[in-house]
Every structure is written in structure tokens, then in C-alpha cells.
């Protein structure tokens, strides 16, 4: 084998794709040719150095894929099977037993509807559909909402069931938030988003604040007690965060979080209705607490994109920014905080965090956080959370 032939076979030899005979010839050539030996040696060393560091896919990705697959399609078998299945199903459905069962179900269903109608009257309101997923334990037992209805995030919002809940504004701190104009806020998130989104500012904002890790907001003005019923969010009427009576799935997941079982919490939040931005936010937080900022930033970023224009997205931008800052990715942090400056309700916080960011970047080298410790080991989460999570208390 000459140098020219060796050159042609070199990559194959490097990756073990040569047949035995050719490989042996290549090796012999290398033994006797310093130039080619150096060439393949250099590439071999390069391969060794340029090992691509592999990272774990984000937690929950697999579940999300499987969930999406379940939703997307029941498997469509080959055409002949489909035809057979359809005719089989059709003939099965026409059996007298099935028909009777169907009538029976309709009867039961109707009577249930009648009963529920009464319950709804007590609640004073049809169900409002918002981003929050799970129904709360009933405020009054008689007026329990059906489990599969999507309920407003706070008792305040749903009990009043007004698009702009006047009473709700009498609630806690987020008074100014109710006046946020949709256009400003969506513009802020649009920088990180693909398409404009609706705004559900008021209810969602209240929910966010009711559920924030800060001291419980007194989200229980008197009107709620009267209106009662139906709804609720995980932060229930009395403003405490302990689940009442039968805990909703959200409550259960939150309980895991507070108990420090972050992996379980993340899984539980992931399992709640997909598209539930609040659950996604809490899932991201759980990943952050359990695995650290590196693992969580993708989650926050994704939520910020998906829920653009909503308080969930703003929280995701903020907490994502803080994580990036903790990981010493300062420009990433800055970009997100700058976007938040355009959101009235987040401006002050963003400004404060930007100041902190400036301090970190300009501080003396000895005082700068050692990025190596956080960056070196993507899989050893314990390195990052202690430093990172202190930001969020």
C-alpha cells in the first residue's frame, strides 16, 4: 500500500471500517512511513481529545414524547387491517347488547347532567377555562366541580366568574398587574417567542402570586366564601398551602416539592394536563431543585416560548435568567432580564436582578463564582443547586 492508497483508507482505518486484509496492509504502511504515521496519529489523538461531551436529555422528555404519541394517533395499521377492523367494530357496535348499553349510558348521563345543573346553580357560574389545570378541593362539599373540568386558578377568579374580576383586584399585592396592557407584555415575550399569544393576565397573575413560594397571599376576600363552590386552585381559599380534604393532583405534586422529593415532584407536574403552564413552571422548578440549573434552563426557556405573553412565561424568563446567571452565562441571563424590563409587573425585579448581574460580572476575579465547578459535571447536580437556589428564596 502506498501513501495515496493509505490516504484513501485512512478514515476507514481510524473508525474500524476496513476489512481485515486492507487494515493489515494499512498498518504495515504506517509502520514504515513516518509521514502517514504522523497523519493518522494526529487524527487519532484529535478524536480522543474531541470527545463530544454527552448530556442527558431533559427530564421528562421521554414521557412527553410518549404522551404526545398517545395523543397524536392510535397506531394506524396497514390498510387491509384498518378495513377489517372498521367492519368488525361496526358489526360489534350493532349488537343488541351494545345498543342497550348505549341507551342506558345516555339515560345515566342525562340524569347526571340534571343533578350537576343544580350544583352549578349553587356555584353561580359556568366553568372558566384557563391555563390552570386542576380543580381544588371543594370549598363547599355540595358544589364540587366535575373533575375533568378545567377550573380557574384561584377561588377568587372562578367564584366571581367575571372576565375582569373586579373583586379580585381587591386581593393581594398584584393590584398593578391587573392594569397591564396585553400588547406590552406580549411584545416582551415575543422576543423569545414565535407567535403572538392571548393574554389571560388577571386570573393567571393571581394564580401565580397565590402559588409563588413567597408567603401565602391572603387570596380569600369575603366574596369568595359566599360564591364558594367550584373552583379553586392549588392555593386554596384560606390562603394556606396545605391541601384540604381530598388533595388535587396539583396539591399532591406540590406536597412532594415541599417535602424535598424533587424528582417525584417533577414527574408529577409533568404528568398534569399538558399545556398547563403553571404545572410546567413547577416542573421546571422541581428539576432545578433536584438536578440543578443546568438541567432546568431548557425547561424554563421552553415554557417562556410556549406560554408567551402570560405570567407563566414571565416567571419562566425570570427564573431562567437567574439560572443562567448562576451558571455564569451572563449574556443569556441579561437577554432575558432585559426582555422582562418591558413587562410592567416584572420591571422592578428585573432591574434589581440586572444590577446584581452587573456586580457579578464586574466584581474582582477572586470574587467571581468558579464556573468550572458548575460547568464541568453536567450530571452531578449537587454542584449547582446550593448556589443556584439561594437566588430564589
Amino acid at each position: 500500500m502506498d501513501c495515496e492508497k493509505f490516504e484513501a483508507a485512512m478514515i476507514d482505518e481510524l473508525y474500524g471500517e476496513l476489512d481485515e486484509l486492507t487494515s493489515a496492509a494499512a498498518k504495515r504502511h504506517v509502520a514504515g512511513c513516518a509521514r502517514c504515521a504522523s497523519r493518522i496519529g494526529g487524527l487519532r489523538a484529535t478524536r480522543r481529545v474531541a470527545t463530544v461531551p454527552l448530556v442527558d436529555p431533559p427530564a421528562g422528555l421521554e414521557e412527553r414524547i410518549l404522551e404526545a404519541a398517545r395523543e397524536a394517533a392510535t397506531i394506524v395499521p396497514l390498510r387491509s387491517r384498518v378495513a377489517r377492523a372498521v367492519s368488525f367494530a361496526g358489526s360489534w357496535a350493532m349488537r343488541p347488547q351494545t345498543a342497550m348499553a348505549a341507551v342506558f349510558l345516555v339515560m345515566i348521563g342525562t340524569s347526571v347532567l340534571l343533578l350537576r345543573g343544580k350544583a352549578r346553580e349553587v356555584a353561580h357560574a359556568p366553568v372558566t377555562v384557563t391555563e390552570q389545570g386542576s380543580p381544588a378541593p371543594p370549598f363547599e362539599p355540595v358544589a364540587r366541580q366535575p373533575a375533568d373540568s378545567v377550573v380557574a386558578p384561584t377561588l377568587v377568579a372562578s367564584a366571581q366568574n367575571q372576565p375582569r374580576p373586579a373583586e379580585a383586584k381587591g386581593g393581594p399585592a398584584p393590584l398593578p398587574l391587573a392594569t397591564d396592557t396585553p400588547t406590552d407584555d406580549t411584545r416582551a415575550s415575543r422576543a423569545f417567542a414565535k407567535a403572538p399569544a392571548r393574554m389571560k393576565a388577571d386570573e393567571e397573575t393571581l394564580a401565580q402570586n397565590a402559588l409563588a413560594p413567597s408567603p401565602p397571599a391572603p387570596a380569600a376576600p369575603p366574596p369568595m366564601a359566599a360564591g364558594a363552590a367550584a373552583a379553586g386552585g392549588a392555593g386554596n381559599a384560606s390562603g394556606s398551602y396545605l391541601p384540604r380534604g381530598g388533595a388535587s393532583p396539583f396539591d399532591a405534586a406540590l406536597a412532594q416539592y415541599r417535602a424535598g422529593r424533587f424528582d417525584e415532584a417533577a414527574r408529577a407536574f409533568d404528568g398534569l394536563a399538558p399545556g398547563d403552564a403553571n404545572a410546567e413552571l413547577w416542573a421546571a422548578r422541581s428539576v432545578r431543585e433536584g438536578k440543578g440549573c443546568r438541567a432546568a434552563v431548557g425547561r424554563f426557556d421552553q415554557l417562556a416560548q410556549r406560554a408567551q405573553g402570560t405570567p407563566s412565561a414571565w416567571d419562566a424568563l425570570l427564573e431562567g435568567a437567574l439560572c443562567y446567571r448562576a451558571l455564569a452565562s451572563y449574556s443569556e441571563a441579561r437577554a432575558r432580564l432585559n426582555a422582562l424590563m418591558r413587562v410592567d409587573s416584572r420591571r422592578e425585579r428585573a432591574r434589581a436582578e440586572l444590577e446584581r448581574l452587573d456586580q457579578l460580572q464586574q466584581g474582582p476575579p477572586s470574587a467571581a463564582p468558579p464556573p468550572a465547578a458548575k460547568v464541568a459535571a453536567p450530571n452531578s447536580a449537587p454542584a449547582s443547586p446550593p448556589a443556584a437556589t439561594s437566588e430564589f428564596k
Partner: protein, 204 residues
């Protein structure tokens, strides 16, 4: 992970899936999601986008499962889908006017500080022993700097362990072209990482 191999080949799993066995699909996801994710991550330099790509790719597998012929290789199909999705994303990114959530095409950004950030006075780090972090950052930066057609071959081979023959099918060029691109990629990386090459040689 070894237990996954006892589930059968990818193609056998697809046949089962086509017959309605959802668990077969789950095995395929478990087998390939990590390397697919890492491939997309290094291609697009964005964790959220990589996640999206992986999800979309598997969704397309679901939607088109009935059309898959088991004489074909599943992995070739999967990566052809993912590669096209990556190309679409890159095209979209090029058209976008304002800064995006995605990591910019700067060396190592998003994985941590660059080497430039670390050295206070900007000198090359020849006097210091190279830490594994520095090497890692330089490696990612060097891969990032590869031309697209070289980087995709490099990633498919090094991250996803696809043989050159399959990479050729996925990319749609001859196997020789693929090997040439691989060689160029390695040579570029060699130049970019030359100061660490001595370190690597010393490892042997």
C-alpha cells in the same frame, strides 16, 4: 440499558409497533432519544430547540409508522427526519430579525463561560495545565466552528455512532464524500485543538 437490546432490532420493534404494540415504540424512544438529543443539541446549540426536534422527530415516526418498510433501517429514517428538522430550524433562525432564545453561534456559549472569559489578562493558557473544563469548552467551540456539512457528519459519527454508509444515505451523498467531510472535520478540529493534542498523546 443492555436489557433494551434483548427487545429486538429497531426494525423488529417497528413491525410490532405497526401491529399496534405501543410498548415497542417506547423501547425505540428509550433507545434513541439520548443520542438524537445530543445530535440536535450540538447542531443547533439550543437545548429547547433540541428537545423540540427530538419530540417532532418521534411524532413523525408515529404519524408515518404505517409507511415504514422494515427492510429499511429505522435509524436512517429517524436521523433523516431529525436532520431535515434541524435544517428547517437553522433556516428559520437565519430569517429571524430579533434576538432569539437560542444560544448564539458563539464558542461554547450556553455551556458555560468561554475560555476568553476565564483568563483575566487574555493570554493563551499555555502555561497552565489544561483543565478538563477548558478542554471541553474548546472542543465544543471547535465543533461549533465546523462548517455545517462537516459538523453533521462528525456528530452523526461521533455522537450517534452511525456508520459512514448510513450517514451517506441520510445526507444523500456518496460514502466517499462523507468520509472526505469527516477527514476535513477532524483536520480542522486537530488544528483548533492542537495545544491539547500533546495532552492527548500523553494520555496514551
Amino acid at each position: 440499558m443492555s436489557s433494551l437490546r434483548t427487545e429486538g432490532t429497531d426494525e423488529a420493534l417497528m413491525v410490532r409497533y405497526q401491529s399496534g404494540d405501543r410498548s415497542a415504540f417506547a423501547v425505540l424512544v428509550r433507545r434513541h432519544q439520548a443520542s438524537l438529543y445530543n445530535f440536535a443539541l450540538r447542531q443547533l446549540r439550543s437545548a429547547p430547540l433540541a428537545e423540540e426536534i427530538v419530540q417532532d422527530a418521534f411524532l413523525r415516526v408515529v404519524h408515518n409508522a404505517a409507511e415504514f418498510k422494515h427492510e429499511a433501517r429505522f435509524v436512517t429514517w429517524l436521523y433523516t427526519i431529525a436532520r431535515n428538522l434541524c435544517i428547517d430550524q437553522a433556516r428559520k433562525r437565519a430569517l429571524r430579525q430579533h434576538p432569539s432564545l437560542d444560544e448564539p453561534k458563539r464558542a461554547g456559549e450556553g455551556d458555560g463561560p468561554t475560555l476568553g472569559d476565564q483568563t483575566a489578562d487574555g493570554r493563551a493558557n499555555v502555561e497552565r495545565a489544561a483543565s478538563s473544563t477548558e478542554i471541553r469548552e474548546r472542543v465544543l467551540a471547535a465543533i461549533d466552528a465546523l462548517p455545517d456539512d462537516q459538523r453533521e457528519v462528525f456528530l452523526m459519527r461521533e455522537v450517534s455512532n452511525l456508520p459512514f454508509k448510513e450517514i451517506a444515505e441520510i445526507v444523500g451523498v456518496s460514502e466517499n464524500t462523507i468520509k472526505s467531510r469527516m477527514r476535513y472535520a477532524l483536520e480542522r478540529l486537530q488544528a483548533a485543538l492542537s495545544e491539547f493534542e500533546e495532552y492527548a498523546r500523553a494520555l496514551r
